[in-house]
Amino acid sequence: MPAPKPPASEKRLIDSQKIIWGKQNLRELPKFRDGLSYLYVEYARIEVQDRSITVLNANGAADVPSAALGVLLLGPGTTVTHAAMKALADSGCSVLWVGEDGTRFYAGGVGESRSSRGLQQQVRLWSDPESHLQVVRRMYGLRFPERLPDHLTLRQIRGREGARVRDIYARASQESGVPWQGRSYKREQWDKADPVNRAISAGNACLHGLAHAAILSGGYSAALGFVHTGKQLSFVYDIADLYKAELVIPLAFESVADLPENIETRVRGKLRQAITSQRLLERMVADLHDLMGTQPEADVYEDDASRPGELWDPDGEITGGINHDGDDS
């Protein structure tokens, strides 16, 4: 006997549940540039309850708008359940584990992109010395408001960059009245560093997290850097360095001038304000596409992330996920 058909009203309900609670539709997710930048959490438990991602700590149980969030930074004392990680990955939120100082990455997650088009382009630019150099030049070009003359060698450009950063430190120190003894921190003894250095490190950590999330959301690799090279996060340093000096250094000095206590939290707060007012997320995504020479086009796997990809062929890609049994004749 066939199963009785559910009444129409019940069927409609099931259909609507499928739309809301089926596989996460990537189109529903706000694009990285429109979302919230970061959330730093420490001494908390992160779990899923009734499909919401909840941070439980001494203050209460707070639901996190994870679909709108670019990156979740997990500090010390955090516990994450398996279900929470899956839900975070589904909503395209990058998750990074960081140390107490917020300076070290322990691990990363996946972004919204399911297509490898960006990565293929990145590899193409990276592996050809001529185009590699062009990207490096464009990266330095973004840091100088005035156009860099074409005849400068890379060595000369690095010299100018050094002078630019030194000027930014000197100006920030002068404007805030906080003395500057040079960038120094002992990686083993965080508390011994002076407040300005700690402030800069905390701000940089957030910026690294954001750059990492932007890179993942564009479908690029964090390891293939252009200016930086040799480390798994080289491209993260490349992208963060485009904004680091002009954004973080003045904020760090300002925060220390206000009050030297509780410096990390206040720098992060100020940074969030600056990210909003300077539309940093939007700029980051635009600069990334610009540097890589890719168009921000629709992700072809947007509707169905588990759709099979293409097969490579010297004459152009062919359809994957089907049996090519008849092709050998």
Binding site: L36, S37, L39, Y40, V41, R45, Q49, T54, V55, L56, N57, N59, G60, A61, A62, D63, V64, T265, R268, G269, L271, R272, Q273, I275, T276, S277
Partner: protein
Amino acid sequence: MMVMILERVPPSLKGDLSRWLVEVTTGVYVGHASALVRDLLWDKCVRYVYRGRCYQLFRTNNEQGFEIRMHGDVGKAIVDFDGLQLMAFKDSRWLAFQQAELEAGSMKAQNDT
């Protein structure tokens, strides 16, 4: 744009609020007002809310695009995560979490001694 939510407040306060704002459904008011008027309305609510609760949400130029204020609700707290406002509920799941933390803490203390 501004939204105000009132729970268990004197009818006169609700009536008064409807002079500035539109009541969408019971206790939910929406409207637009200058920052000054918004603050004055909030002060008025806090003053006359007695044992009830009131909430105010309004557009600001921050990352979230809005700010939340609340008064008279002991079961919730607005938690500031470095400039991001989230609502923290002190509900049953939170109590269970607290309980588990306490037990883990006392177990650790026993092991240490």
